[in-house]
Symmetry: C2
């Protein structure tokens, strides 16, 4: 059976303005690889409702799972929950269990839980909450879409709580071999190895160190034996140009 | 006249595997903001031809410009040029001017320019070359799609050479104000300011420092006077909680 698939949807002007570096996608990618869920696409969209709704509709039809980050805080630009309700055609309102969880974050909830903060307890109908042990405001799963915070520390604990309860597949195993030769000379033997090992995805990432050309060759596969065979085949072809794994 | 729009398409398994952090999108975002071209979307797709072709077709129909990074090297996984030819329905082959440029990178081009390296001179019919002063292998523009290298240093010089020759718009000006209060208390005055200043896009990015809650409020607009008015309106509302700009 093929592995489940996934897309990441990063929501927020701060990413597309270049102000903030998205570290959530790489984190999710590594967690999903271990779980055997294949991350196939990532998208970044601005805080514009039409864009968010269109992207989530397209992605959720295409992949087993969609993971989102951003836009679930208390301010006017936090519109992700409303967009999810719109994308699924369901209602949205303050949910009592979400409000109760949120209240535990405040010394005096009657006063502190102002209308803006209460926005964080607005959950689309039929969603399941995702735990946020840091700042309490929950994420949620609706259908196959998992809605999480953009703040990296919170995104990570939400992912760590969520992913174990999803069905997984065969984890992707990876191995890197550094080859101390120019990519243009490595390309021919590497192409042969790639053709001989169709179950292994092989990427080549050139770099320079002390002015000398090298490349990291990354082997990835669900089949560890096939991966080892491909790596060994490359090492045999390039001889002492293959350095220690990096 | 509204500003030209753009999307970024990041091509490569190494990004979706979480192995490599994409720094090309933030760089492009900053350059485009100064030029007055609005970056509206970014996508990351794997080294799979069907995915690349589908994404570029969708994005080029939608935005003034599409910028791509990755997949134009000499190895088997470098399939971007072929995908662009397929997306535009044109032929592709080694082009003499591209070959001549590439040859300048080698001491002995007759020998060094092997079939794998020659792949880097394969250019879709009708494309215009993009200069690569670092490793010579050119990028290219076909239609409204600008195809560049994934290696960040090379991506950057290609962008720096390309973007000045594109038509621009009104540069997006931005200003940040740090407000030393919890986002949940800032949300109400900030919402009023946002509602009062529709020409200014306002984002709120909370963080903690020394255990105390703060937020960076980022104002962005093509209209600098409107931006300053919005920032001043927020500062007037939050009083001495507004710290020095960050």
């Amino acid at each position: 059976m093929p592995n489940p698939t996934a897309a990441m949807l990063v929501i927020g002007d701060e990413i597309l303005s270049g102000r903030t570096q998205d570290t959530n996608t790489p984190y999710l990618a590594r967690v999903l690889a271990e779980k055997g869920i294949d991350l196939r696409e990532a998208r970044m969209v601005p805080d514009i409702a039409g864009e968010i709704v269109a992207a989530v509709k397209q992605l959720r039809a295409r992949y087993t799972h969609v993971f989102t980050s951003g836009g679930i805080g208390p301010t006017h630009d936090d519109i992700t929950a409303d967009c999810m309700a719109a994308a699924f055609g369901v209602g949205i309102g303050v949910r009592e269990d979400a409000r109760a969880i949120l209240a535990t974050n405040y010394a005096n909830p009657e006063v502190d839980l102002n209308p803006q903060r209460l926005r964080m307890a607005r959950i689309p109908d039929g969603a399941r909450l995702i735990d946020n042990p840091i700042s309490k405001a929950p994420g949620f799963t609706i259908g196959n879409v998992h809605v999480m915070a953009g703040v990296p520390e919170i995104f990570r604990v939400m992912v760590d709580g969520l992913v174990p309860r999803l069905g997984g597949g065969r984890p992707l195993v990876s191995r890197s071999v550094r080859v101390n030769m120019p990519e243009g000379l490595l390309a021919a033997p590497l192409g042969e190895v790639a053709a001989d090992h169709p179950k292994v995805v092989i990427g080549c990432y050139p770099f320079h160190q002390d002015g000398k050309p090298s490349a990291n060759v990354v082997f990835r596969s669900e089949d560890e034996a096939a991966l080892e065979a491909a790596a060994a085949a490359l090492c045999a072809r390039v001889g002492d140009k293959a350095a220690a794994p990096v």
